[in-house]
Symmetry: C2
Subunit: 211 residues, 2 copies
Amino acid sequence: MSRRRTQPALTTTSFALLSHLALRPWSAYELAVERVRYFRYFWARAERGIYQELKRLDALGMVTAKKEYRGRRARTVYSITPAGVAALRDWLESPLAPISLEFEALLRVFAAPLGTVDQLKATLEKVRGAVAEMTAFNDAIVQEYLDGSAPFQHEAYVRTLVVDFLTDWMATIERWVDRTVAEVETWKDLSPEGKQERVRARLVAARSRRD
Amino acid sequence: MSRRRTQPALTTTSFALLSHLALRPWSAYELAVERVRYFRYFWARAERGIYQELKRLDALGMVTAKKEYRGRRARTVYSITPAGVAALRDWLESPLAPISLEFEALLRVFAAPLGTVDQLKATLEKVRGAVAEMTAFNDAIVQEYLDGSAPFQHEAYVRTLVVDFLTDWMATIERWVDRTVAEVETWKDLSPEGKQERVRARLVAARSRRD
DNA sequence: ACGCACATGTAAGCAGTTACATGATTTG
DNA sequence: CAAATCATGTAACTGCTTACATGTGCGT
């Protein structure tokens, strides 16, 4: 007799999948690819996990699975059930998960005085590279919507609200890297001497950038 | 005989703790509070987990624990070891974890056409509230640095680089909410009609905001 | 006397990742 | 005929959260 009830509740990841399935049936493979494409920058999950999650949704009656064949290659096509649609609608009213950011480079800036100026610069350059990749990806999406060639173009009126955010978000990181590299370029070492004077200007500038 | 070697490697969370311990000894409680204060917006972890992580760092020889008493109330004070410092320095050169954002509201925007305009507005208002809290917290930190009253003021020259990012990041979310609420206010329902025309303008504006 | 801040821990569980595993079809 | 892409799954593990649990000391 177990003291805990194991409520196999749906997670936000479940709803991410269900919101795709609400538009049309998808194979697990298609979803893995598409989900990576659309959600990688604000709800990233490993491709592999999607197969498990879909089986779980099937077991919970949120989707139905159907094996299809192309030649002798099988694929499992999932469709949303009325229960799945109902769950999705309920989710739209449920409490919102807190915004969560994991940005290891900021942690390294904190610890930077233990290392070298070159290490700090290298960290910043890695961020620059990562953002460049993100931006290239995002720009391609923007272009698709401008061309009218994006999948689900009829959903563009809501989806571009997301693209709008992402464009700004990436630019925010990029600009921070630029400012910070410019500052660190003037440093010969990581001692506080001669560096504390700029603190006030930096904070005031950040504040005024906001207004 | 197990086939896997369980390498109890240090995680980024370990280094977050070690980077505080590199400055001075801390009690577990102090760290729980301080870490929440400083890292909550770019490397959030549950307070409770810090006690476990510190024990693990102790077992790995990265820190030493010492029981102290104030009256009969005990507290465990942790100090970093030379091995801990060495590990921290190595980390500064190791590969950087990818930037990871979890922003459920964007997922709900994707799924918005299944629900109502009011639900979408409510979601955006929740984000606005969350950002207001973040901003208030951040503003207090900024003020401390300006007053010179922040803990570890001598580290301000690096720490304010982080504060600089955070200020911009929060403003980015806020401005997106403002833009998006303004758009959604003009909507009577969630059909695509009459809404697709603004897509191009939105994408072009986002692009030009960046340059 | 009560409530808040100080102070610490454990056990169970879970969401998600990673490594391992297999095979079919298309394209160059 | 090799490589890329299509296509799917499982077992083990792990980092972290949550619920549960237990006190002390101080201020009002």
